[in-house]
């Protein structure tokens, strides 16, 4: 299972994107799906840096991917604070622009772009975020 460790900093996002591009190419995804997966992972990693770690340079993000059972499964691990995704409100898109608040868009996008997402919190392993995209037959 290809694995890479990235410092939890915003300038790692481009490199993480390249790593994910490898995964999507192996899975045989088209450009549109590749972009969707890269975007979901980017949003996830941005959230990890900002919310799990509370800022840059406080740990690593360990990325792994696996292609099996007609699925691309990406795992992101961090050792930051756990959080409850249920507590994050969805952004109020559709509201007048003056009322738009910049919270929750990342999680919202992840849910829309991937087929499955799962948050697990483990005392030893830390936070484990699993993102799955199904590979069409």
């Amino acid at each position: 299972m290809p694995t890479a460790n990235f410092p939890a900093r915003f300038d790692s996002l481009a490199k993480i994107g390249k790593f994910i591009e490898r995964a999507t190419k192996e899975a045989g995804f088209d450009e549109s799906t590749t972009y969707a997966v890269q975007l979901a992972v980017d949003e996830a990693c941005s959230n990890i840096i900002e919310h799990a770690y509370g800022g840059e340079n406080k740990g690593d993000i360990r990325c792994t991917y696996r292609i099996a059972n007609n699925r691309l499964t990406i795992t992101l691990r961090d050792t930051g604070r756990p959080f409850d995704p249920e507590k994050i409100q969805e952004p109020n898109f559709g509201a007048p622009i003056e009322e738009l608040k910049p919270r929750g868009a990342g999680l919202f996008l992840m849910r829309k772009l991937m087929d499955e997402i799962r948050f697990d919190f483990d005392q030893k392993l830390g936070n484990v975020l699993t993102l799955v995209k199904r590979i069409p037959e």
Partner: protein, 111 residues
């Protein structure tokens, strides 16, 4: 990411290239804030060379749009948005907050 600003008769054109993500969005924010701080509210963002945009980038554009549209003094319009970026915009329903043009002539001409 490189960002250039060109002053036209009726609007400003901002050109960015590459990725607009949590790392680079603050640079774009600074450029756009400088424009609005100096009373420039008619802005075209040329995205022909932007190949990736995350929600951090979108929030910078939304905040700029709020300033531009206040008191009907102007607007931020987008030009040459790549299909993939447009798809993700529309997926969350953010597309409705911006006029999007397929070419610079139309975008600049809208002012």
């Amino acid at each position: 990411m490189e960002i250039t600003t060109t002053e036209y008769k009726r609007c400003e054109v901002v050109r960015a290239n590459g990725r607009i993500d949590s790392y680079t969005a603050p640079e774009l924010e600074e450029v756009l804030n400088k424009l609005t701080a100096t009373g420039k509210y008619k802005i075209v963002l040329d995205m022909s060379e932007v190949d990736f945009m995350s929600s951090k980038g979108w929030w910078v554009l939304i905040e700029t749009q709020k300033k531009c549209r206040r008191y009907n003094r102007g607007e931020l319009v987008l030009a040459n948005v790549k299909d993939r970026i447009r798809e993700s915009l529309d997926l969350v329903g953010m597309g409705s907050y911006f006029k999007i043009y397929d070419d610079m002539t139309s975008a600049v001409g809208s002012f």
